[in-house]
Structures are given as structure tokens and as C-alpha cells.
Symmetry: C2
Subunit: 636 residues, 2 copies
């Protein structure tokens, strides 16, 4: 097999008629193999245990029967496994395989004119018509069930699957600034404080604890509270202003503790079922050692100074971006990759990557592939908030998960169209959405003005629309909603620039609600993946209704959310019963896992009323059949 699968690129690239000249006896053609990203240029994504359902158009000239098979193999074996493909009609064929090993799989399709099957079919037809088949029977000897290799066509592209662990698909992130983790107001938090905070986070049920950059912070042009351009002495600066006298991207900010403390945090988190995620932010403070040691990695201005970050007229003089067009780009890429390798060697297997869309796509493709070759379980979350094609490209080149536009999708129409695009189109083959109602950079207007009902509704949406979601806490669970100024999405007194002291025991905390949501997510496999998402009609635009179900429909979750944080909203749902596998003539039970309430429904149309001040959401589990009189022993 002419396998360029190692490169993940279209192979062959033979001119069709030249190929035909060489292999004129091949009569079958193969078209439109799916799934496939950009013609096979990029791998599709799966997690262990998932299936890859492969389809292709396979046909030949004339009346002869054709046959097709799917070939697949893990990168660590050279042996292909074949699966016969089944015809679906209209020349379309299908087969599936399941991935059970981390790393990369390859798959492709073969087809051929099946003379043996053709002969069998024709023989049966002739016999049915009472024709003499004596000569046909003689052909049996020259025909073989196995095809002549000279008439077998291999598809000219070997396609790829990247196989991740399950957490790549199903994860609940909690973002925490260690600097504010101290129980003592005004004291800089440490990794040890984070360890002390773990029970609180574990009780809420999150399984990834993500820390903003933990490296030394520059002092030159350091920003003060609320992004003030001149920090006062004692201001901690932004963790994203990476690099100081104490070191750069491989060093730890001394005020957070030691590498040993970090290791202890990793271990302590693991013991509570949580995994630590670090931040990869490839940029430097003016004090970063790279600036001195590798001036060739930065752009010089004509006056000899180093170009700071800018998006005119905005200036970020505390940040020096790398110049990725430097002639020294190879050394730069190697060094950046070594940063990730360094933390991988410390045991970190999840990275949230800061602004990947301001670094070349080629860098990420190369770096992620290299890291995953050594550590195939690694998860990279792309923190790109930019234009859709840029976000998708980052996912194509290798990011495991991606931030989304969820924070700005508030109306039913917005939610339905966006999540249908993400979960019901080929985008889902490469883009795994991660839904954040807030981040340290994004306090959406909905949360600024919607009060507690908005927080509850947005958390419920994030946790049920997205198999992966995250919150920036404790700001989220403590309902932090003050913006720096009107029209801004920046938090007032943001932890990005100062320490904060949080009252975790506030009675209005959403802690218990988040714990319930995460418990529901763990208990209901339907919520642990996104592809089954279906929206259902409602006659009130402020009510959004959707379901997720397992493939065997043994678990169906139906969510209804009132998008209006002020007023009670009511209306009629029209459920797509076929999508839910429900019989229109049989009662079924919906059990609200948030309130505990149960309702008996029948048919597609059902009434809903949600008071946001009581609960803006139902998260129902659907039980196929309610008990009826027929369940009594004596009924029959």
C-alpha cells in the first residue's frame, strides 16, 4: 500500500488519466470519502472508545456488482484491518471502526468490481427466469471470491484520526488565580493555598483546575490595578506579563511557591479526581531573559527599541510579542516547544493556550504534534476569541478543545444556530467546543445586568449544551458582576492586576448549584458528548429547549431554559419525539434533576413555565415509560 499516512497528506496526487493509463483494468471509482477535514489535510478527532463511521461513494461502469472495504490501522502497527462496507443505496457505502488506543489512526477505502457476486446475482436471475445456466455454471471454476489485485482501487488519500482520552470530550474546568487563594486578605496566595482550596473545588465537581501563568512577572511597564499604566510598588502585575529576573516560561513566580509545591498541588488535585492545567502564553515582559539572550526573536523598531505589542491605537508596552517572521524562527520554535515539554515533564498534561491566534498556525501544528507524539494524552485548549475561520483553523491544526462564542450567544436564535453549526455539521469532526460563561477577560453584559438568574441560566446552558465547559471562579459562583466601566467586559478590580479576597461562604454563592450541575453531568452520559444535541421548538422565543441522548437512547436529557433573567416565561414545547425515540401514544416521565420535580407527559406538546427568580432552567432526564395500570400483575 502506497501509504503516506505518516504525513497525513493526500498521497498519490497522480493525474487521473495518467493513473488510468497505468491501471486501465480498474473500473471502480471512489469519491467523497467522509469524514474528512479539508480533503484529508487534517485529522478528524475522536476519544478512546468512539466510533469512526466512514462512508464513500463507490461505483463502476456497467451493471456489475461492486464491493468496498474500509481499511484502518493504528500508527503503531503497519497491519491494516479491513471491514466490509455495506451499501446504503445511491452508490453510497458505509463501515465503522472503533478507536481504542491513544495517538493516530489511519483509514482509507478500497473498492473493486465483484465478479463473483455479479456471477451469483446473474445466475439467480437466470434461474428465476428458467434460463439454461449450464454454461454459466462452468464459469464458477474461473471465478474466485477474492478479487484480482489488478482491478482493486485504493482511494488516493489516507485519512487520519487523532485519538484523545475521554477528558478531551467531557471536562469541567475551574479557573483560579492562585494569587487570591490565600485565606488572609491582602496576602499573596500560593500553591499551598491552592491545595487548601481543593476540597472546595472538588465539592463543586470540577475535574480540571486551570491556573493562569505561574511564571515570574516582569516589573518594567508593569500594569497596576484596573490596568493602570503605572503600577505602584507592591502591585503584583499581570501573570501574563511573563518573565523577570527570576526567569521566564520555565520558572515559577517565587511568591507562588516552589516547584515542589506545584508538584504537591498536582498530586493533591489528582487525589481528588482533578487535574491541573497550566497556561501557555507565548509572550514576554520586557524583563524576560529571552529579550536579553535572544534579541533576534523580537522585532526591533527603527529607533533600536524592541517593538511592544500594539493594536493601534492601543499599546501594550508591558508585553513584547515574538517576531515569528524572524530568520531565527527554527530556534524560536524549538525553544517554545521546550517550554511545553518542560511542564509536561513535570506531569502537566493539560494546557490552556493563551491567544494562539496571534502565533502562526504552522507553529501550533508542529508543536502539538511533537508534544503528542511523546505525550499522546495531552490536551490543548485554544483560547482564541477571533474570527470563525481562524478559530476553526486552530482546531484543525491540532488544538484538542476550543473556546467558543458562547459568552455572546444569549438569544434562542443565536444559541440554536451556533450550536447546530458546532454539533451537526462537519465542524464537529475537528472542533470540540468548551463553553465559558465568563473568563477573567470576559464579563458579558448579560451577567453584568441579569443578576443571579442570569448566572444560573448561563451555568445551566454551559453545562448542558457543552460536554466541556468552564467557569472563572470564584468570580462566577460569587456572582461578581461589576464591570470596570460602562460598555466594558473587563471586571472591576480584576485579579489580572491585583489580589482579591473572596468570601467563599457567602449564602448566595452558586457553589451548591454548580455542584448539582456537575453531579448531573457525571450521572448522565447523554451530557458527556455533543453530537446528539437537538433543539426542540417552543412557542416562546425566551424559552430554549434541547436534548442530548446516548446512542442507544438509554439516557436522554431534556433541558429547557428561560433566557429572560427578569420575568417568568411560559409556553408550549413541541418535542421532536422521533429524535428522542419516544412513542407519541405512550406516556413518559420527565424528572427535573435540578428541582427534583417529576412530570408525566404524553406526546410532543407540553407546557412549561419557568420563573427565573425561582429557577430559570429545567434539566430533565426523560424516562421512556411511565407506570400505568398495565404494570399491575392482575392487569392481564
Amino acid at each position: 500500500m502506497n501509504d503516506s499516512g505518516e504525513k497525513g497528506a493526500p498521497r498519490g496526487a497522480t493525474a487521473p488519466h495518467e493513473g488510468s493509463q497505468e491501471r486501465g483494468r480498474v473500473r471502480v471509482v471512489i469519491e467523497n470519502v467522509t469524514p474528512r477535514v479539508d480533503g484529508g489535510q487534517f485529522p478528524i478527532k475522536r476519544v478512546i472508545g468512539e466510533a469512526v463511521e466512514v462512508e464513500a461513494d463507490v461505483f463502476a461502469d456497467g451493471h456489475d456488482r461492486v464491493a468496498a472495504q474500509l481499511l484502518h490501522r493504528h500508527e503503531q502497527t503497519s497491519e491494516w484491518t479491513s471491514v466490509p462496507m455495506q451499501p446504503l443505496g445511491n452508490d453510497r457505502w458505509r463501515a465503522r471502526f472503533t478507536v481504542d488506543t491513544l495517538g493516530r489512526y489511519f483509514y482509507t477505502v478500497q473498492g473493486w468490481v465483484d465478479h463473483y457476486a455479479t456471477w451469483q446475482r446473474d445466475l439467480a436471475r437466470k434461474r428465476a427466469a428458467g434460463q439454461d445456466v449450464s454454461v454459466d455454471l462452468l464459469r464458477a471454476q474461473e471465478l474466485q471470491p477474492q478479487p484480482d489485485p489488478a482491478i482493486v482501487l485504493e482511494h488516493d488519500t489516507v485519512l487520519q484520526v487523532t485519538v484523545d482520552r475521554e477528558r478531551a470530550r467531557f471536562s469541567s474546568w475551574y479557573e483560579l488565580f492562585p494569587r487570591s487563594a490565600s485565606n488572609i486578605a491582602g496576602k499573596h496566595g500560593t500553591f499551598r493555598d491552592c491545595i487548601a482550596r481543593l476540597p472546595y473545588i472538588a465539592e463543586m465537581g470540577f475535574d480540571i483546575l486551570y491556573l493562569p501563568p505561574i511564571h515570574p512577572i516582569g516589573t518594567s511597564k508593569r500594569k497596576g490595578p484596573n490596568n493602570a499604566s503605572d503600577a505602584r510598588s507592591g502591585d503584583p502585575g499581570s501573570p501574563w506579563g511573563i518573565g523577570g529576573a527570576e526567569g521566564g516560561h520555565k520558572a515559577i513566580h517565587p511568591e507562588l511557591g516552589s516547584l515542589k509545591d506545584l508538584q504537591d498541588l498536582i498530586t493533591a488535585a489528582q487525589s481528588r479526581g482533578m487535574e491541573l492545567a497550566l497556561d501557555i502564553a507565548f509572550q514576554c515582559s520586557p524583563d524576560h531573559p529571552y529579550v536579553r539572550e535572544h534579541p533576534e526573536w523580537f522585532r526591533k523598531r527603527p529607533d533600536g527599541t524592541i517593538q511592544y505589542a500594539e493594536n493601534p491605537p492601543k499599546r501594550y508596552q508591558d508585553i513584547y510579542p515574538f517576531d515569528f517572521e524572524t530568520d531565527a524562527w527554527r530556534a524560536l520554535w524549538e525553544e517554545l516547544c521546550s517550554v511545553v515539554e518542560h511542564w509536561a515533564e513535570q506531569g502537566i498534561r493539560i494546557f490552556r493556550v493563551d491567544n494562539p491566534h496571534t502565533k502562526p498556525f504552522g507553529l501550533w501544528q508542529w508543536l502539538i504534534a511533537r508534544i503528542k507524539r511523546a505525550y499522546p494524552e495531552t490536551i490543548f485548549l485554544s483560547e482564541a476569541f477571533t474570527r470563525p475561520k481562524v478559530m476553526y483553523r486552530l482546531a484543525k491544526v491540532g488544538f484538542t478543545q476550543s473556546y467558543t462564542y458562547f459568552a455572546w450567544r444569549n438569544t434562542r436564535a443565536e444559541i440554536e444556530s451556533y450550536f447546530t453549526e458546532l454539533t451537526q455539521t462537519p465542524v464537529r469532526e475537528f472542533f470540540r467546543p468548551n463553553l465559558w460563561p465568563n473568563t477573567p477577560d470576559i464579563l458579558p453584559e448579560h451577567l453584568q445586568f441579569g443578576g443571579r438568574p442570569a448566572f444560573v441560566a448561563r451555568a445551566a446552558l454551559a453545562a448542558t449544551l457543552g460536554a466541556s465547559y468552564g467557569i472563572y471562579g470564584p468570580a462566577f459562583e460569587l456572582l461578581e458582576h461589576e464591570a470596570r466601566e460602562p460598555g466594558s467586559e473587563e471586571y472591576r478590580d480584576s485579579e489580572k492586576y491585583q489580589l482579591r479576597h473572596w468570601d467563599l461562604k457567602r449564602p448566595d454563592s452558586l457553589k451548591d448549584f454548580l455542584a448539582r450541575l456537575n453531579r448531573i453531568r457525571r450521572d448522565n452520559r447523554a451530557l458527556q458528548s455533543d453530537w446528539s444535541l437537538r433543539f426542540h421548538a417552543t412557542d416562546n422565543e425566551l424559552l430554549v429547549c434541547y436534548s442530548k441522548s446516548t446512542e442507544d437512547r438509554s439516557n436522554i436529557v431534556l433541558a429547557v431554559v428561560n433566557l429572560d433573567p427578569r420575568f417568568p416565561q411560559s409556553g408550549w414545547l413541541t418535542l421532536d419525539l422521533a429524535a428522542l425515540g419516544l412513542d407519541p401514544d405512550t406516556s413518559y416521565q420527565v424528572h427535573d434533576l435540578l428541582s427534583g420535580a417529576r412530570f408525566l407527559w404524553r406526546g410532543a406538546r407540553n407546557y412549561i413555565a419557568l420563573d427565573p427568580h425561582h429557577s430559570p432552567a429545567h434539566v430533565f432526564v426523560v424516562r421512556h415509560r411511565a407506570r400505568t395500570e398495565k404494570d399491575f400483575d392482575y392487569f392481564l
Copy 2:
């Protein structure tokens, strides 16, 4: 430029991250270049004078401006012409070029980060914000409007256009059996009789005269009238039973005349603006010289006889198909190609190919490319009535025009969905439909039972829905409608097996109607292409309404057809005025080119009534503006 355009295949095929490793300074990416057939595996089609509008997603990381250009060249030059692409928003770019030479064009896209434009934009923003730009101005010296080649990305695929002459897009075919062209009943017609018939055909306005195979006809197993299995002496046999003692595919059936007669027919047709099309039917009668000279080109049955054509339980013992899986396939291909070359050398430039779907796709791709290299003006019409993907594949591999399912598309829903697929989806890039209401093999039930109104409606539909259409005459204009038996689409007493004598002067002939239709087609450029086709809503399912217009909307044709051959139908149209470029508040005139009637309409909703026994169709030309009082000199 790494140009594998000569092969029309994806070039490069470099693994993405390997490419990145080699060209790490390239930050731009190019995705989703259109138009493109199967990832660039096949050429798109155009005729001389048409535009290729190329779009691509071009973007880079970060905030920098990018630029993109389209490159194109004709195959006969190695010089690329570049056209700057314009941004359409959402990272999409567009440019167009016009093709003006027969043969093949190549096109691709380049993109780069435009540092000069970025600098200009940023400078303007800084100035607008009142910032000091003195250092920025110094950068002007190091920046050049021309990009550094090291940061320019070429798309990894060179795409192809096949450029045909205009008749490939706009053609009116008339199929005629020369055997029945004699004015004397019972006498075998000749090419000379065809010459005598030319004025009749020219008066109807057809521009292609297509003759079924003109070769010697086998006598072994010859079929008699109505496909009787034993021909009587004197039965002429089927013209598709090719090959006899007098020769094979390069010979002329003696009863039709000589090669000189054929040459005269070609010349005489040309003098009347018509072009002769011949039939290519790659199959043999048992008497074909190939059977004796090249038994290796046929499949032997185990009893030593040659395998006749069959589709069990049907047998076609008068036909020997070629065995395209023969080891001698190269010689067979060469010989078949030489058949087409032979007739091309006689001046034939249009071939209607019989059942191409029973010969390998690879053969056609190779053969058509080879013929068109020598004779780029050649037109190949694919007579494939088979499954959709097979028909589309034949168009992809090179057929210029294709028969369609038109004969079986009778309801409004069928017509709208099928012709929307053909004209408004990427299918149109490679598939040029040719609409036949009848053929010698297809007398649709609609014509069997619909009477004259059905013939008129089907002709009007074919001639206005399709820039290319054809009829099998004189059966069509003489309303021939008797099937061989109930449930059959075969003509009774078909010319395929016997001579017919046609009364061309019958008063009910559709000759004048067809002449009017063809005149309308010639006079209205809107009808000479298919891409502008738009359907308009009607409130009566038996009325179908559609329009075609030139790109500048200087010519708009609006057709309304009553699909019911029995009863008058009326209803309201709701025209898509925007698609027609009509102002909703200004009157416009619709002028029925069939009846001569004129109507003044205003707005989208207009009433239509069509009595099929009077005329089942309107073919309106739309005149943008009716005269009003404002047209008088004294009005102002």
C-alpha cells in the same frame, strides 16, 4: 512555481507540519478555494468569453493585514497573470478572470501578510489618535510594497478550467434517422436524402443535426421490427448493431451512401448554420471485423463462444460488448480512440456517445483529453441514463454535455428540485445539462397520454429550462405517441429496427412552434445559459414559473407552463422581484413571445391562466419599465 498543473492533480501534497518546518516564516493560510471539483481532481468547465470567479479563505494569525491574488494562465503559456483579490468579509476573497481561448486554463491563489498595508493602516490609526508616529515613519524605508517571497504562500493545488466553444453551452439538437429520410415510402434513406431534408430542419432553427450510427450493420442475430428476435430478410437491423462484412466503426453503411456523400452533408449543413453530430457506440455486432481480428478484446464464455451483452434475464445476442478488463486494454483503448480520431479527421466535431456508463470512466477521461488536445473545439454529449453519481462522474471526466432525467421530471416539485440542483449547486461547474423530451429509446408516458398539449409543454420546458436541448424527430414534431406495449417507453414500429415514412406536412405538426421556440432562444441571450435560472412561487402546483436573465439583466425571460395537459389552470404568481431586478413600485411589461400578447404588471403578485388546448405556456420577455405619463415630453 511548483506547477503540476499539466496533470491537473493536487500538487505539493506536503505534510502540513513538514511544510511549516520548511517555511516557518509563512504565516498566511489559504483554504476552500472555489470553484473546484472534487478537491481539484477534475477541471471546471467554461465556454469562451465566460468568467471564472475564484474565491478563497485567506487569513493569517494576529492583526496584520493580508493580501491575496489570483493567478491564471492558458496551457499554451508559462506566464501567469495575476489579479488582486478583493476581501468580501469573513476572511473570504474574490477575483475573476475571463477565458478567451479554447483548451485548458490553470488557476490558483497566493496570499501573504501585507506588512506595507498593515503599516499604512496602523499609521493612520495612530495619527487619528494623535499619537507620535515619528518612529513609525522611519519604518517606511525598510518596508516595501512588494512582499518578501519567503512569506508568500501558494495554494497547494493548481486548478483547471476546460474551455469550450459557445455551442457547448447553447445548442439545439435534432436527431434524425437517415434510413427514414427518403421521400419515397419504403425506400432506404441516404445522406443525399438528409441533404434534401436540411431546409426543413433549418427552418425549425436547430443547429446540430445528430445521426444515429452510420456504420455497417451486422446480420447475425439481427433484430427485426419492434425488436423481434429474428429479422426477416430485408429488415435493416439496428444501427447500434455495428459492424459487418463492409467494415466496422470507421466504415459507412453502404445503403446510406459514400464518405463523399457524408462530406457533402457536412458541408450542406454548415451552409445552413448547422453542424453534424455522429454517434459513438463502442460495441460490436457478431459480424464486426474486431471480433475476428481481436478476439482478445471480448470475453469468452466457458463454452468458447463470445459473451454477448446481457443484463440478466435480458439478453442482447446481437451485441458483443468489449471486455474492458482484458489484458489487451491498451490496444483496445488506442483503437477506440482512433475511431473518434477518424471521424474528427473527416470534419466531425460533435459526438453523441452511446451508453458511456457501460465503459470505464478512465477510458473516457483519457480519450476525451486526447481528442481535445488535437481538436479542442470537440463536443462530447454523454448519453447516460443511469444513477446520478455515475452521470456526474462522466461529466467530471470530460463529457461536454450530458443527457438528464428531464424526460421523467413532470411535476413542479420534480422540475424545481432537479433544475435547482443542476444550475444552483457546484454540479454546474462540471455538468452541462441537455434536455430531451424524447429519444428513440424514450417515449415518456407523459407524451403517450398527454396529447398535443403535452408535446407543446415539454418542448417549451426543454427549450427554456435548458440552454441545450434536443428532440428526436420527426417523431416529436409529428406527435408520435404510440408505445410498443403498455408500460413501455419504446416507440411502436421504432426506426431503430425498421424504416419509417413521415408525413412532414401534416397540419398538426409542431414544426412552426419549434421554429418559434428556437427563434426565441436565438433572440434572447438569457435563454442561452443556465446559471441564472430562478423558480418563482405559484399558488397552483400545476403551474411552474421560472426566469432566466443575462448578468446585466438587459434580457429577462420569464416562463410559465401549465403542467396539466388536460385542463386550464390558473393561479397567482409571486415573483422574486429582486432576482429579476424589478422595482416593486414601477410597472413593467411582460411580452409573450409565443402568442405575441403583452401584459402590464406591477409588483410580485400576478394572475396567470393557461388553457393547454390553446397554449400551455407563456414565454415572456420582461421589459423593465412600461411607458407612463412621465414619458411625455410635456410631463415635466
